[in-house]
């Protein structure tokens, strides 16, 4: 085996040594001289007017350096950033500064901050701030919040509905009527995609260090978006962009929740500028559960029309997106921009009608959480397919096979708007059925049911849109970048704009470079997360890092390779077209003895003063990649469950996942992503849920109350894959970060509903809920 066999190989991660020895540096591990600690005072009410704030006593507490309220920020700090298309929702609705003024609109709304010399004193002093609140009725249930008599979050607008999308439905109504007239069926359901919390194990945190002497600010933040954070924060705090440097150190998970510029980042920056001291803020877990964005929280009214054979003729989805109290970066567009385009899922559905309301409520803002819009859309279509099968008494696999987009139909323009690049949905479902031995398992379950056992099977054949992406679709270009320098020793330094938080890009990107340069992976260094040294990037989210950032790295290598071939051609006295690169050497085609090592060409390029005319010295290039289109990973998950009749506790007995993310660069990392994604999808299906009471009090503010799946609750995942490359990027890769979360949830719900012989049960499918259903049987 030559050196160049890295891609497709499950090599161990290069990030791990520092992580397994406790030597990694997360934000909370940073210590700076003169560091002040910031603690945030938050609203104890879901909705209330602030009548009076008295900070006198807190200011006098030993160790306290400053206390700030909204008044102190006036004219100095901008609003929390929102990235919605202009005119999408009324200007000012959902907007806020980093500290609440006038009203608080959700439990945890930040009201004041204390800066102190140590975190314990800051916490003590927070309790000494005296606030008079006038509690107001809260709009908690999203459908009630839409009613005329609901408490209003933004009185000046007279409604909680931020935006409604209600296109005429004449055409879809005609199709539904025709289908029914021809003996077909219409299935209808209301699906609750409950609010969940992302819960990265590292909470958010920030250190801000402002130097008055040169008016420059350095921010260390646990973030998925270093460059966006720098660009946005600079505007918010009134500094030129070049005076703000963002460093993203080790990040302990994000799952979309760190894809935002949060009030605390703005507040820490402001506090550092005011005090001249570095300022640290570390979110505690209760804050994380209360104020870091939540995910999902969508209600879907779904109707599907199908022929007696089960062929879907039309689909209607009316979605209500619960925005929570404020707009964050993508709050307003998660459902409509990310979910709706894939409403038809893996199916060739000729007509679709999509309508929506997006609504403010007295709860934490929702925004991106692993999958962001796509799990909700997938859940709706997968449940609809199962309902059609249930109504017609057909096998859910058969209804899927009947409706799948066929491989020869790609690229496929869906009636919901998206154009799918490539896919082979039949193959993935078939492989999953083979792996779980579907016919045999059905037989076995029939026997077990005859014995009175509660067993069920569920299928989910998902697709995903990711790798954002593409030109002309977002308010700003969603590209990635790579700066690559080949040093005189032959070491390759790769500076990427993409910034990871557990995805292992230091390994996969190095594999791309090592393979393309035909050098050992140890010779490649991947650097990320510092806006002063990395070229502009858009961040890690939406399963885009490899498909967009990896493609930028690949393209940069190609350009440098051309230059190195040119230099090698002079050294070898051959024509550049005849130069080959393999096994770490440039050689002349047909004369393998005429060869020069990669490192010698690197040395020549960097040191020689006799390069041929027209060749610039050095080997360095910056390349940007902005894809022309999105990529569409897909797959099928099949879940088998048994429910304990006496306790209602569901047990997953088998979980099979066949996923297709195109070409796999490091299968070990791909599998890890799928495992984690499935775990989160199962979490939503069976355990998780953010709960507020009718006053807007958060009842799930600790991990004692918010149930995350633990090791004994999760099954052993049986994975397989198919490979359908994409032409959208030069690597042929699709995303895999979110696929597991998107695919798994509907399979689990379907399996449990199947076990109880009912068409649908709303999540989370806790043992209590199932026990009650069993009692009613």
């Amino acid at each position: 085996m030559g050196i160049a066999a890295m891609l497709g190989t499950p090599i161990k991660r290069r990030e791990d040594p520092r992580l397994i020895t406790g030597q990694a540096t997360y934000v909370d591990d940073l210590k700076l001289l003169g560091l002040l600690h910031m603690v945030v005072l938050r609203s104890p009410y879901g909705h209330a007017r602030i009548l009076h704030i008295d900070t006198t006593e807190a200011r006098q507490y030993p160790g306290v350096v400053a206390v700030y309220t909204a008044q102190d920020l006036q004219g100095k700090v901008g609003n929390v950033a929102v990235a919605v298309p202009l005119g999408y929702i009324s200007e000012g609705m959902g907007c806020r500064g980093p500290l609440a003024s006038g009203k608080v609109r959700f439990y945890g709304d930040p009201v004041a901050v204390v800066l102190a010399e140590d975190p314990y004193s800051a916490r003590d002093a927070i309790d000494l701030i005296d606030i008079d609140y006038e509690p107001l009725p809260a709009a908690v249930d999203v459908e009630q919040a839409m009613q005329d008599d609901a408490p209003i979050l933004y009185e000046e607008f007279g409604t909680n509905i931020a935006y409604g999308m209600h296109p005429p439905s004449k055409e879809i109504d005609r199709i539904f009527a025709e289908t029914q007239a021809a003996g077909g069926v219409i299935v209808k359901t209301r699906l609750i995609n409950q609010r969940v919390a992302p819960v990265s194990m590292e909470t958010r945190g920030v250190v801000a260090d402002y130097r008055k002497a040169d008016q420059s600010l350095t921010i260390w933040s646990s973030s998925q978006i270093p460059h966006l954070l720098r660009n946005i924060l600079a505007v918010q705090i009134g500094l030129p962009q070049h005076k703000v440097r963002v460093i993203v150190p080790e990040v302990g998970g994000g799952f979309g929740s760190k894809l935002n510029v949060y009030p605390e980042e703005m507040l820490a920056a402001f506090a550092s500028m005011q005090t001249g001291h570095p300022v640290k803020w570390i979110e505690d877990r209760s804050e994380n559960l209360a104020v870091t964005v939540h995910g999902r929280d969508q209600i879907d009214y779904v109707e599907a029309a199908a022929t007696p054979e089960g062929k879907i003729t039309g689909l209607k989805v009316y979605g209500i997106s619960d925005l929570g109290a404020y707009s964050q970066l993508f709050t307003d567009v998660i459902m409509i921009a990310f979910g709706f385009p894939v409403s038809c899922g893996a199916y060739d559905i000729p007509a679709v009608h999509l309508s929506a309301d997006i609504v403010f409520t007295n709860k934490a803002p929702t925004d991106a959480y692993r999958g962001a819009g796509r799990p909700e859309a997938t859940y709706a279509i997968e449940r609809a397919i199962d309902l059609v099968a249930h109504r017609l008494g057909k096998d859910p696999a058969a209804v899927r096979f009947l409706n799948f987009i066929r491989p020869e139909q790609f690229p496929y323009k869906s009636a919901a708007g998206a154009t799918y690049d490539t896919g082979n949905y039949h193959a993935a479902l078939q492989k999953a059925m083979d792996l779980i031995d579907y016919p045999q398992l059905r037989l076995q379950q029939a026997q077990q049911r005859a014995e009175g056992r509660l067993v069920g099977l569920g299928i989910s054949s998902y697709i995903e849109i990711c790798g954002f992406g593409p030109k002309g679709t977002a308010p700003v270009g969603l590209y990635e970048s790579a700066r690559i320098r080949v040093e005189q020793s032959g070491t390759v330094m790769v500076y990427t704009g993409a910034s990871p938080h557990g995805q292992g890009e230091e390994t996969t990107f190095a594999q791309i470079v090592a393979d393309e340069f035909s050098i050992p992976v140890e010779q490649v260094l991947i650097l990320h997360g510092d806006t002063d040294s990395t070229p502009e990037g858009r961040g890690t989210y939406g399963s885009r890092t490899t498909a967009v950032g990896g493609a930028a790295v690949y393209n940069a290598v190609q350009k440098l390779k051309e230059k190195m071939k040119l230099i090698a051609s002079h050294l070898l006295e051959a024509s550049p077209e005849d130069i080959l690169l393999a096994d770490g050497k440039f050689s002349v085609a047909g004369s393998p003895q005429k060869a020069i090592p990669f490192s010698d060409v690197a040395t020549t390029a960097n040191l020689s003063n006799t390069l041929a005319p027209g060749i610039e010295p050095g080997l360095e290039i910056t390349v940007f990649f902005e894809p022309d289109a999105c990529v569409f990973p897909f797959g099928t998950h099949i879940c088998a469950v048994e429910i304990d009749k006496t306790t209602g506790e569901p047990h997953i007995t088998r979980f099979v996942a066949v996923d297709d993310c195109g070409r796999q660069l490091n299968p070990m990392i791909v599998q890890g992503q799928i495992h984690g994604g499935i775990a989160q999808g199962i979490g939503q299906a069976m355990y998780e849920g953010v709960v507020y009471n009718e006053d807007g009090q958060l009842l799930t503010a600790t991990l004692m109350d918010y149930a995350l799946p633990t090791a004994p609750e999760l099954p052993f995942f049986e994975l397989a894959h198919t490979v359908t490359p994409t032409p959208v990027n030069p690597l042929g890769v699709k995303g895999i970060g979110e696929a597991g979360t998107i695919g798994s949830t509907p399979a689990v719900v379907a399996a449990i509903a199947d076990a109880l012989g009912v068409p649908h049960i709303d999540m989370p499918l806790t043992s209590e809920k199932l026990w009650r259903l069993i009692q009613q049987r």
Binding site: L19, Y120, S200
Partner: protein, 169 residues
């Protein structure tokens, strides 16, 4: 402000004498006073296990112990699990089996795994899962963590030479 208490704690084989507030949590003592930042804080309420360390050889959650409670004790943190420059078989297992992604829960997972293997050198998959129920990982779905512990068990069984330095048993 309360009176400080003098404590003596041996951490990773090194004796430390400190004056601490009685309310100072052990995890903050380790991280902020001794600069051993490998032990993490994930939940403050004893659910997540990111802060697991060994106290006199037994796994404890350092976010729910006070530093003064560790007075006179021996503490082992992730930094002291293996001698400088080498890896404990559990650390190797996590690396080999891709038992981590973001790495934040990992030190606590490794220390909890140490506890499992100390009491049960040949655990079944179910026993490993049960043994880790006090530790939350949001990235891996636990499958590769289970494999990591299994791999470590095999290696520790195969090589008695790889005895953990910190064992007080």
């Amino acid at each position: 402000m309360s009176t400080k208490h003098a404590i003596t704690v041996t951490v990773n084989g090194q004796r430390h004498r400190s004056e601490v507030e009685p309310r100072l949590l052990l995890v903050h003592y380790l991280r902020d006073v001794l600069d051993l930042t490998g032990t993490h804080v994930g939940c403050n309420t004893s659910q997540c296990g990111a802060c697991v360390v060994l106290l006199n050889g037994e796994a404890v959650k350092a976010c729910t112990l006070l530093a003064v409670q560790a007075d006179g004790c021996e503490v082992t943190t992730i930094e002291g699990l293996a001698p400088e420059g080498s890896l404990h078989p559990i650390q190797e297992g996590f690396w080999e089996q891709h038992g981590l992604q973001c790495g934040f829960c990992t030190p606590g997972m490794i220390m909890a795994s140490y506890q499992i293997l100390k009491h049960n050198p040949h655990p079944t998959e179910a026993e490993i899962r049960k043994g880790l129920e006090g530790n939350i990982c949001r990235c891996t779905g636990y499958q590769n963590i289970v494999r990591a512990v299994q791999a470590a068990a095999e290696q520790m069984h195969a090589s008695t030479a790889a005895q953990p330095v910190a064992s007080s048993d």
